[in-house]
Structures are given as C-alpha cells and as structure tokens.
Amino acid sequence: MGKYPRWPIHLALIAACFVMLVPFYWVLKTSVSGENIFSYPPSVIPRDPNPFYYVDVWYAIPFARFFFNSVVVSAITITANVVLNAMAGYALTQTFRGKRVVLMLFLSCMMIPFQTTIIPAYLITGKLGLLDSYLGLALPMFSTIICIFVFKASFDAVPRSLIDAAKIDGLSEWKIIWMVMIPLAKSAMATNVILSFIWSWNNFMWPLIATRSADMQTLPLGLARFLSYQEDSTGALYAFCIMVLAPGILLFLLAQKEFVQGLTSGAAKG
C-alpha cells in the first residue's frame, strides 16, 4: 500500500487520455455523420450516423489498390529496417578505429532534412532502375539513423560477458546478432517496426516523386487525389483519414505489449 492516495494520479491520467482521445473521437464522429466542424453548438453524439462516407471514399479513388501498395511498401521497409538497423546497431557496439567519426557522421546526418537529399535519392533510384517500383518506393527508408541508435542503445545494455560467452561457445558474429542480441532487444525491435511502419505509411513526398503510374501510388497520394475530387465533403475526408489511420492503430494495439516489454523479459528467453 502506498503512502499517498492514487486517485490524483488517476485523475491526471484520465484528463490526459481525454485530451489525447477527443480529436480521434471527433474525426470518427465526423466520418459517420458528416457534420461541419464549425457547426455550433457542436454535438457530442453523432446525428444520423451512417457508413456512406466510407463508401464514397472507396469508389472515389482506387482505394484497394492504394492500400495494397502502402502495405507492400511498408512491409519491405519494416523488414529492411529491422535487418539493417540491427546489424548497424551491433557494429556500433564494437570497438574499431574511427568509431567516433562514424558516430559523429551519423549524428550530423540526422540534421540533414530528407528534402535536401531528394535529388540524389531520385538519381540513385533511377540509375538502379527502381523508379515506379515497390522496392524503389521503400529504398530511401531502408535504414533510419534514429532506429540504428535505438538498437545500439539496446545492445549496449546487454552484458559484455554474455557476448563473450557466446563467442567462447563458437557463435559467429552473425549468429550472435540473431540468436543472442535480437531476443534481448525485443523492445527495440518493436520500436523499429512501429516507427518504420508509421514513417513509411505516412510518407508523401518520396512516393510523389518516385511514382509515375497511378497504379503505384500509395494512400497519402490517394488522399491528395481525393481532396482534388471532393474538396467540399467533410464527412468523406474524415472517413478517408480513419481508413488511412486504422492499420497503424491496429498494428500498435497488436504490438503494444512487445513495444513496452523490457529487456529483462527478453533476457529470460535468451
């Protein structure tokens, strides 16, 4: 039993939840009622809710195709991020000449906005013949520096004696990463999966540049196209937002346990 009552903390948490969740509720409510967001007095309960704005979105653009494109690009991005970032993160835990320079280089690269690297990224992707392809859409997000540091921080927390023991047992560096370090870094992996998914799913600029055919467009481009079709429909716009947001929310709800899982639970299995 604690010394102090817990209700003030719960009250603060409920207030924080309320502030966080009200915008989501408002989007959901508007998507089924189509009420103007500027109407006064605002109604908390949706008036005459119906699913027809979702139907409008489905037929206004090739939603299924865009959704499929986004799923494929996100799957490629997540796979590449987990594999490449884990390897890079592990490399940065080792001692080698010029490590500080590499770290400084990584940190300084984080300050360069993606917009400034679009032209070289486009030229490289074009030279590789990957423009207007799923691989080309995912290529610039194959590895992100923040996620490398997430893995590095997680690997740094692993006792050195465990890695030494694995080496004595004859495991190669490759096997140490996948059989020792990764099981201990489930939280870092979940963070990588969720972050790379969100970045890939919401990416607008790169797909806008790298796609040529309408069939290769992703959902954010679909939203822009949809706005050009139906700029007067609040309900349909919010329905589109819900349809784009839903997979990300679902993935987070499915993986939230792993997301918050600590290193201790991973160590028990490793």
Binding site: F52, Y59, L250
Partner: protein, 134 residues
C-alpha cells in the same frame, strides 16, 4: 496437477494468439462481405409510382440519376407498368437519385438513394408520389 498448469500444445500457441486471430477475423469478414457483394450487385433499382390520390400511375417516365464527380446526371430512364412499378437493371453507382414524371399527373421529388456498394440491388420502400399535376 491442475489442467491450467499444463503447457499448451505448440499448435495452440501458434494459432491461438492475437497476431493470428485478429487478421483471421478481418480476412473472414472481408471474404464474407465480398461474397455478399458478388451475389447482390446486379444493378437493379425498383419501386412504384403513385399519384396524389394513391393510385398507381401507368406510363410515367422514371429517371435514374447518377452522381458524377460534382453533380447528378441522368443515366437511364424507363416507363412504369400498369401497376405503377418500374425497374432499372443497369445502375452502376452507389450514389443515385430517382424521379418520376407524367404530363398531366405531375412530377415527384428526386429521391436520393445511398447504397452500401456500387450496383447494389435495391427496392424503394416508399413509392414515388406525383404531385402538382395541374
């Protein structure tokens, strides 16, 4: 030893978890919905036309309006039978309107119809009523 203390079989651990069950439910719902759509998307829109006294109107022209980006345009028209009934068989849209008109009898208001999917079979519950025939 209690039954709950026994370790679960491997297949149960693989199949009965949220990463399998949630996608499985979503796939099942999607397949079920698509089967329903395939069996109900003949583009049939039917109904009846009555005059202001409630009598069926024969020979009234009924128009099918389809939403086309910004406005509704006439997609098809048909004529009612002796019992005032009409039927369209080529509706391609999910957002339509129907209206009826007969010289001397008047015209009906355009009735908006929202469908759950394109070309959904639909029968108007309320008949179209012609008014202002004078």
């Amino acid at each position: 030893m209690n039954e709950e203390d026994l370790p679960r079989p491997k297949w149960k651990r693989w199949l009965l978890n949220r990463f399998v069950l949630v996608p499985a439910v979503l796939v099942s719902v999607t397949v079920g919905w698509n089967l329903f759509v395939v069996t109900h998307d003949h583009g049939i829109v039917g109904g009846r036309v009555l005059d202001s006294t409630g009598a069926p109107v024969e020979g009234a022209e009924v128009k099918l309006w389809v939403f086309n980006f910004a406005t509704f345009v006439v997609k098809a028209s048909t004529t009612t039978g002796a019992d005032g009934s009409f039927e369209f068989r080529n509706n391609p849209s999910h957002n339509i309107q129907v209206s009826a008109e007969k010289p001397g009898k008047g015209r009906s208001a355009r009735v908006p119809i929202r469908l759950y999917f394109a070309a959904e079979d639909f029968v108007l519950k309320e008949p179209l009523r012609l008014t202002d025939g004078s």
